[in-house]
């Protein structure tokens, strides 16, 4: 089956797979696209919210500091005793760990008090800070946030200056260690592995969960998202590379009064995890669908092509001649119907074939029978012709021999007469001849007479033979009439019986006559047919006589049997039977098993001639050598002329 690349089952499977796969693919793609957009938008929204929240937290950190510093900016603070101010500052340091140093500058810009976590307290140093940016900033802005500076190039600090209330106010200046925002940053959760960080407007890192990055005074302005945020351009949420180079979804929010930018960054993989989840889900569904489609396709194709294959195989086997082939298809569909029709067709073909074979067998048998009949007829014809020509030959020979034989016979008889006349003449010339001579002549004459008598006797025998021979050509010469066949048989049997008894007085035989009364009258030549019967009976008696066996009971069965169109005369004896070598010659002229001189060998030859040629009948012999011999003579009821013509 290599005429096509793919089998029907494979093509069906592929078609099913393609169809289902395409539907799943389109469906999955659409749902993936929507899920992607939805999740992306959600992620962006979430990131924005997180950025805002983170900015709020950072702003809150500073706002709390402001609030705590606010305790020292009361209008009456300029008038409280130094000890009270120091106490307030101690409390401030105690409450705000991020403040590492706090200064009070009076309205004139003179430093009045300085408390530090690392340095001894300084009271009333009077240092002129009126030109200090912190003091000026506080006076101008009420609250002033200094730029972020990195002490020793490492620790981020910011000055936070607040002007006091009242006329010609002083200011409280706090140095804030921004490392402590770290606690705020680590508290900000951005998904599982996301993080927040803070830069100033120059892109320098102020706060990050990884303290080391801050302490390293990292400049992030090279990051596109930081640069974009500084420039204030672009989306607030964007895909970017994080500080560590990972792909992240970055969002930012600014804290305008500090000039800080708070970023939240979440690894893209995590932010888009729902998208991936949806994608994986869709892919899994797609794979599942394809597998199911494949299985279904295979099963369907099998179920579809299985019967087709069965049909195909059945057709092939049928084509190869296996007519008993039936297709076992259970399906009740078109293929099932097709298989049913196919089976019906196969049944019909098988029936037709069987009928054909039966017909052929019949015809063959009939032909064989015809051939047998024909052969038998031919054999018979050949035999008949042979016998007929032999008969004619015999008749011709007899005819040719008859005249010379007549001469021989006649002259022999004449010579006998002449011898008698010679004796008479010698009697008359008695005395003229010496007695001795006479005696001698008498003796010679007597010998001549004997010889002549033998010539005459054998001449007569020869004559009889010749006459028998001539009988072959003597057809149609005797009269033909309707005769009671049973009577004819009985009469002939009597004649033969007595003839045999006459020839051999001790001869005895049990005769069983079974004459069918229905045999009736037949149109035949009685004289000729009597010859046939006598011949058959004579042969039978001879056969039983020949059989020399202890306790042997000679038996002869003679029967007639009436049939619709013919009558069968059967003569059966339990004599010597006919040897196989002899059987084919028994109807030939001059063939005899009897010793020379006892039979002419013309009896059966003539009988055959009479029955077949004259009466249009059949004569058949059946025998078991040493057991029995049966002759069947079949005579047609129809006129002999018709039989002969047939």
């Amino acid at each position: 089956m290599k005429r096509r690349g793919l089998s029907l089952a494979q093509r069906l499977t592929l078609a099913f797979l393609g169809l289902v796969g395409a539907v799943l693919l389109v469906n999955g793609s659409i749902s993936m696209w929507f899920a992607y957009r939805e999740a992306t938008e959600a992620a962006v929204r979430v990131e924005q919210e997180k950025a805002d929240a983170a900015a709020d937290r950072v702003a809150q950190f500073i706002a709390e500091l402001e609030q705590q510093i606010g305790w020292t900016t009361r209008a009456d603070w300029a008038r409280v005793p130094m000890e009270q101010r120091r106490y307030d500052f101690i409390r401030l340091l105690r409450q705000a760990p991020a403040i590492s140093e706090v200064l009070y500058v009076d309205g004139e810009g003179r430093e009045r008090l300085r408390l530090s976590r690392l340095e001894p307290d300084v009271l009333d140093s009077g240092t002129d800070l009126s030109a200090d940016a912190r003091f000026r900033g506080a006076r101008e802005n009420r609250v002033w946030y200094g730029p972020v500076t990195f002490r020793r190039g490492s620790e981020p600090y910011m000055a936070l200056a607040m002007v006091h209330a009242g006329r010609n106010p002083g200011a409280t200046i706090a140095e804030v260690n921004l490392k402590l925002i770290w606690e705020v940053m680590t508290a900000i959760r951005v998904g599982g592995t996301g993080y927040a960080f803070v830069t100033d407007t120059a892109g320098r890192l102020i706060a990050h969960p990884d303290m080391s990055l801050v302490l390293r005074d990292t400049d992030l302005s090279a990051l596109p998202q930081v640069a974009g945020a500084i420039a204030g351009a672009g989306e607030r949420v964007r895909a970017a590379r994080g500080v560590d180079g990972r792909a992240v979804l970055s969002a930012h929010a600014t804290i305008p009064r500090l000039g800080w930018i708070v970023f939240v960054e979440q690894p893209t993989s995590e932010a888009l995890a729902p998208v991936y989840a949806a994608a994986y889900q869709t892919l899994a569904l797609l794979a599942l669908g394809v597998v199911v489609a494949l299985l279904a396709g295979v099963v369907l194709a099998r179920r579809l092509t299985g019967p087709i294959r069965a049909l195909q195989a059945g057709a092939e086997r049928l084509g190869q001649g296996d007519l008993a082939q039936r297709i076992d298809v259970e399906a009740r569909d078109e293929i099932g119907t097709l298989a049913l029709r196919f089976n019906e067709m196969a049944v019909r073909i098988q029936d037709a074939q069987e009928t054909l074979e039966a017909n052929v067998a019949d015809r063959t048998r009939e032909l064989a029978e015809s051939l047998d009949d024909l052969r038998a007829a031919q054999d018979r014809l050949v035999q008949t012709e042979k016998l007929a020509s032999l008969g004619q030959l015999t008749a011709g020979i007899a005819h040719e021999i008859k005249n010379p034989l007549n001469f021989v016979n006649n002259f022999a008889e004449l010579s006998i007469d002449l011898l008698a006349e010679l004796r008479d003449a010698m009697d008359r010339a008695d005395g003229a001849i010496a007695p001795a001579l006479r005696l001698e002549i008498d003796e010679l004459c007597g010998m001549l007479r004997d010889n002549l008598a033998k010539v005459t006797a054998h001449g007569r025998r020869a004559d009889s033979i010749v006459r028998n021979m001539l009988a072959h050509s003597r057809e149609g010469k005797s009269e033909r009439r309707r005769v009671d066949i049973n009577a004819l048989v009985e009469e002939s049997l009597n004649l033969a019986w007595h003839g045999a008894r006459a020839e051999r007085p001790g001869f005895n035989v049990a005769i069983d006559k079974r004459l069918d009364p229905a045999a009736g009258q037949l149109d035949l030549y009685p004289q000729e047919f009597t010859r046939v019967l006598l011949n058959l009976f004579g042969n039978a008696f001879h056969a039983v006589q020949q059989k020399d066996k202890a306790g042997f009971q000679p038996h002869l069965l003679v029967s007639t049997q009436a049939r619709a169109e013919e009558v069968v005369v059967t003569v059966r004896d339990n004599g010597t039977g006919i040897p196989e070598t002899v059987r084919s010659h028994i109807f030939e002229p001059f063939f005899t098993t009897k010793p020379p001189g006892q039979g002419t060998g013309l009896g059966l030859s003539l009988s055959h001639d009479i029955v077949v040629q004259q009466h249009g009948g059949r004569i058949e012999v059946a025998t078991a050598p040493g057991e029995w011999t049966q002759f069947n003579v079949t005579l047609p009821r129809m006129p002999a002329e018709q039989g002969r013509a047939a």
Partner: protein, 320 residues
């Protein structure tokens, strides 16, 4: 849903992280203390505790050695640690830091040193980028001595004489600043080695009772001696200030200093980051952010001193 998301995200995150990971170092830490690794030792207790919490096992992945204040013992201890092929050394106290930096054969050193300026001492190029194989926690803040003197004077204004407990192994810088600061406050000063058990009583005996106070400068490994010294101070009725805010109660009236549990824990974090492959030269030196002040009202009561409300306001911890 969250679980699946995490499951989906984690491999990606892990892959991203692996991509730029540096070669990891053997996950073994050698810890060397200049003086002691006894159970009472503050740094050892804090740092060792954190490392054990992170899965390090003594004698398998965590090896502790002490210098016993003897440079030869210290060197031998470091050699022993190096024989274990550690991924990082944690050195506590200036002698151990210098010895580890010198003998460490390039093994990263996480220093815990409250006396040394790492840049000035040549251990690091800068705080932000040390550049070498030494990083860690440094607090060179000799100005704290003035702070301690002010606290002492605030509690006991009658003080005219101060005895500084100073460990020579930490270097003279802190002592020099302290003596100058004392002079500024018109105090006479004496310096005593805290490990010298006989020196302190004789030094205290020289001054009149009620006019003498004790300031303990930073000294690694001193915690085991706190009880002895504190008991002596109590017995002699001398107010004392220590840099160990967490160990007030041993007889010292006050403690002001780095919040050690909070600060020292960073050493364990930095060491683990180094084991994870980070370049120690790129890990900034960390200064303390939090300071604590603790006051023992029992001790002050014994001394018969009234505690001013400013001190109470400043105190993160008050023992009563």
């Amino acid at each position: 849903m969250i679980g699946r998301r995490a499951a989906l995200a984690l491999p990606l995150a892990a892959a991203a992280r692996d991509a730029d990971a540096q070669p990891r170092r053997p996950r073994r830490i050698g810890y060397v203390h200049s003086v002691s690794i006894g159970p009472a030792n503050n740094a050892t207790r804090i740092i060792g505790g954190h490392l054990r919490q992170r899965g390090f096992v003594d004698a398998q992945t965590l090896f502790l050695r002490a210098g016993r204040g003897d440079p030869a013992v210290l060197e031998r201890a470091i050699e022993e640690l190096l024989a274990h092929d550690p991924g990082a050394l944690i050195a506590v106290g200036a002698p151990a830091v210098f010895a580890a930096a010198r003998l460490g054969r390039g093994v990263p050193v996480v220093a815990v040193d409250l006396e040394t300026d790492p840049v000035a001492a040549g251990l690091a190029a800068s705080d932000a980028r040390p550049g070498g194989h030494v990083t860690g926690l440094f607090l060179d803040q000799p100005s704290l001595a003035g702070k301690w003197l002010d606290l002492l004077l605030e509690l006991a204004p009658a003080t005219r004489h101060v005895v500084f407990l100073w460990d020579p192994a930490t270097g003279p810088h802190q002592r020099d600043v302290a003596v100058v600061q004392a002079g500024r406050r018109r105090l006479t000063a004496a310096v005593v080695n805290p490990f010298d058990t006989d020196a302190l009583p004789s030094a205290l005996a020289r001054a009149a009772r009620g006019t003498v106070g004790v300031v303990m400068l930073t000294a690694p490994g001193i915690t085991e001696h706190l009880g002895r010294i504190g008991g002596m101070l109590q017995a002699m009725g001398v107010p004392g200030v220590t840099f160990l805010a967490n160990f007030v109660g041993s007889g010292f009236a006050m403690g002001y200093g780095v919040d050690q549990p909070h600060y020292f824990a960073r050493a364990a974090v930095l060491a683990e980051r180094i084991l994870d492959g980070e370049d120690p030269g790129a890990i900034p030196i960390e200064r303390p952010t939090r300071f604590r002040f603790a006051i023992d009202l029992r001790a002050t009561g014994t001394l018969g001193l009234a505690v001013p409300h400013t001190l109470l306001a400043l105190a993160d911890e008050v023992l009563e």
